[in-house]
Amino acid sequence: MVEWTDFERATIQDIFSKMDYEVVGPAALSRCLIVYPWTQRYFGNFGNLYNAAAIMGNPMVAKHGTTILHGLERGVKNMDNIKETYAELSVLHSDKLHVDPDNFKLLSDCLTIVVAAQLGKAFTGEVQAAFQKFMAVVVSSLGRQYH
């Protein structure tokens, strides 16, 4: 089981409670599709992903980005049980969506950068460490049920 310090718990709760999922989600997903264009392979039915402007204006990308953030919230609300929380989603990403789990880290890195830009100086090294630790646990759980 993952050990969380009081600081880490408080930091994660704080970051997500202040977050606008409808801004951060779309920003993170579109950044991922732009910075790591091979990730577009999973979104063949999303329409126009032809360039950065198209991606950032795409309503399906925006909707899915928000969905992802709501998915992350489940982990935020169950920090002592993240593995179980994402077991079903892990199976889904493996068996139905066939997503290479390496992609989870790519999206996580983009989310880190979006959150950093939002929080500015408040995103200290310690806060970054807590955030990246949380994301690493989520990423690991999402890859756990692959077989």
Binding site: I34, V35, T112, A116, L119, G125, E126
Partner: protein, 143 residues
Amino acid sequence: MSLTAKDKDTVRAFWTKVSGKSAEIGSDALSRMLVVYPQTKTYFSHWKDLSPGSEPVKKHGKSVMGGVADAVTKIDDLNAGLLTLSELHAFTLRVDPANFKILSHNILVVMAIMYPKDFTPEVHVAMDKFLAALSRALAEKYR
């Protein structure tokens, strides 16, 4: 994944914007790296003070960004341009190249913090590619 002409233009333009604060970027990126990835501290056991913003960290951050600035001017041939630095890292410093990725990530995080409006996804991808190419050039002489 080599740098296109557009990537190089984007990198040069963004670098012109941020180069005035490069020492601060370097210091913050290095400080973050030592906190967020504590295994990187193993390379600096000879420093008196590894805390964020300390003198050795500031000084070294400035050196590192000096290297990045140099690389921007040599963006058309990074392997040739960074030959000496590669030999230094390969034979003397022997930093595991996995750490180049770690430091690059932290440089990008600091750029996002300091330039939230300018660090657009287009700038992000160009800078990520550039730092990756720089890292590859730095690892050129390892084996």
